[in-house]
Symmetry: C2
């Protein structure tokens, strides 16, 4: 069976994701789609709208055959580490190809860029360092450095967010000496950061979330751009847990955490660097919302995303030491859901998979997965009882979700 | 001016406290009453009903002339350390006497007990250790050991909670080589742990709180047993902050803290001993209320109070190391409120006070007071914004409360 891997967050799963899965299957001629999906906290340093379980259901009904959790140590990181963790998992699962959306849409240009960059890595790093010292943010510094290299016209434009991720997927394949074939699909209908619905049936996840959290949520507008299945999972989640998850719901816990920590304790937290702890402590006392706090601590040097990730690590109490020790390689494959096809595939390959496939939390334990468990505990914190305890228990008791793709029903 | 010291929590200030202040003034022939009062967290390991500021107002209107904060490192401890911290502060403030309520009511019997115990400290400690090894709780072990010593009939009965505190006040005076004269008043009308109103006008603070937090709060019953001033401060606090503070209001934060901590991190917390961290982690996942959690972790070995103190230290993130380094001596006198008489007294003695008198937090900083600040931050956590930020700011910006006792008005 030919498998294609996709790296996703599905926050929430929408028509663009559906299109991505269909196209990936088509262009790679795959028999099944394996989605590596961020758990409850995402790359931009924020909680997912709904839990990984609800998002797994959306993914399975949307065409994915296997849903694997991208561990916290990779999911909440900058593009390079995020991409490496995801590709390493897909490599361990023996996929034949990966397929990602990008602004470029030309896989050749990613390969060219990688080749050209190889010889110039040192220059590139020096340029980034200089730009950082000028007080630029990391993405800005990387983008400027990239342009200064004046690569051939065939190189991909690395100032675009999806091109950056794509570049790191291709780079990770190379690092792993993997035979995975990369493919890319051009993103056209909606840009990554679009706040408003750009098209009648395709919209970015950002714009969907903005709508969901706006005072005048327009469900009809949302229904136009997400599959019916996503819509019903969203409604059912809200009904079950009385909430969609948003940073604001965690702000009380975050403030409590900051105000009960010493600067020394904060310095142990991952990504708290360069005296940032003092800036955080200085502004937390009077901030009444997360947004207000973020606006107060924001500087040119740190992107919003970078600061949100810092806040996420503080919220989840994740130390530099633990992140350093556990982000070299994925050490397990946490299975969140499968279709019947996905199950067949797993049965076929499982003897050859080098790391444990974890279906039940109670059957496996290590430091890397403990960080996922902690993240899930923290993710549940913002719910009221009994929902908090329910969600925490799901993490331990939920077996992988099984979906019969032929009869369109969960088993 | 002759000063008498009293050691109090005023949670809340009631008629019994009013009587205690009047009697203390009378029997010691004092010109003023200095109250050393626990801050926002109390000896039984629970948050005070209302903040130290509201309780200071109650105390000043109830007859105290100076209100001093008992630092967190002493306030949340077993009787011996609690008493030592309070007496050391009163000693530093040059009081002539202290006066405490006790079941005994005979100061001579406290002195006798202290003298008799001195020669038998070693035997006493061995007896306690044996009883602890049999799985008894500390108070039970101490009480049994005390009875085994078979002291003279004139000794005080140390199985009574106020006698125990009184004994430690007298012991602390002795340890400090202080000239403070101890006095005691017999407690009759209401027992320490009484849940119901024992008399028409005197009731224990416990019974008042039980009434306040019951589903059928009976304000009329409460009004009978507290001064009008206390009543109006309680109403005004509830109106300002929309809440009385109760452990249940902190349970979400406590659960979040526990579930984002490793066993190793919990072991660093003060009073987390003998593998207690595992017991806590085992039961926290499913507990939906603080009461439910406490009932699950309770064993014969640990008293409810001891476990509540452990939970308080976890909530406030207070380590063994910091408590050990900072509980030897009070290092400052935090002034919460004064009457005009209190101010005169302070002006007269301040040159001779060995440790700094802190009127404004911004003017003083050390590790001991940082623990008080942290405790106040945590205390405010359970409030909704903007109240949370308001209460946190009060801690820094509030000058001591000044009260004109002649015209019965705050200045």
């Amino acid at each position: 069976m030919r498998a294609v891997g996709v790296v996703v967050e599905y926050n929430p799963f929408h028509n663009g994701h559906y299109y991505h899965i269909q196209e990936s299957r088509k262009v790679t001629e795959a028999d099944l789609v394996i989605a590596v999906m961020s758990g409850n906290f995402l790359q931009r340093g924020e909680p997912a709208l709904v839990s990984k379980w609800a998002r797994t259901k959306m993914a399975l009904e949307g065409g994915a055959d296997l849903v694997i959790e991208l561990p916290y140590v990779f999911a909440t990181q900058k593009a390079e580490i995020f991409a490496f963790g995801a590709v390493a998992l897909l490599h361990a699962l023996g996929v034949d190809s990966i397929c990602f959306g990008s602004e470029s849409g030309e896989i050749r240009s990613f390969r060219n860029t990688l080749e050209e960059m190889k010889g110039r890595k040192e220059t590139f790093d020096v340029l980034i360092k200089q730009a950082l010292e000028q007080g630029k943010s990391y993405p800005r510094a990387a983008s400027d450095a990239f342009h200064s290299l004046k690569l051939a016209d065939s190189a991909v434009d690395l100032s675009q967010p999806n091109n950056i991720l794509g570049f790191h997927y291709v780079e990770a394949i190379d690092k792993l000496n993997s035979t995975i074939q990369p493919f890319t699909i051009k993103r056209t209908k909606a840009h990554y950061h679009d706040q408003h619905f750009a098209d009648q049936h395709i919209a970015s996840a950002t714009s969907i979330r903005t709508n969901l959290f706006s005072e005048k949520t327009n469900l009809e507008e949302i229904q136009n751009v997400i599959p019916e299945t996503t819509y019903s999972h969203l409604l059912s989640y809200k009904k079950s847990f009385e909430m969609f998850h948003h940073w604001e719901n965690y702000f009380a816990y975050f403030k409590y955490r900051l105000l009960s920590s010493t600067p020394e304790e904060l310095r142990q937290i991952y990504e708290v660097e360069e005296g940032l702890e003092n800036r955080l402590l200085q502004h937390i006392t009077s901030a009444e919302t997360f947004k207000e706090f973020m606006e107060q601590i924001k500087t040119k040097r740190y992107t919003w995303t970078r600061l949100q990730r810092v806040c996420t690590h503080i919220l989840t109490n994740t130390s530099k030491l633990l992140m350093k020790e556990n982000s070299e390689q994925p050490t397990y494959i946490r299975l969140l859901g499968t279709t019947l096809v996905g199950q067949d595939y797993l049965n076929g390959i499982k003897k050859n998979v080098a790391i444990p496939i974890v279906s039940k939390l109670s059957a496996f334990s290590n430091e890397q997965i403990n960080l996922d468990i902690k993240a899930s505990n923290v993710y549940a914190s913002c719910l009221n009882e009994p929902y908090r305890s329910m969600l925490i228990k799901q993490e331990f008791s939920n077996p992988p979700i099984r979906y019969d793709q032929n009869n369109k029903q969960f088993l």
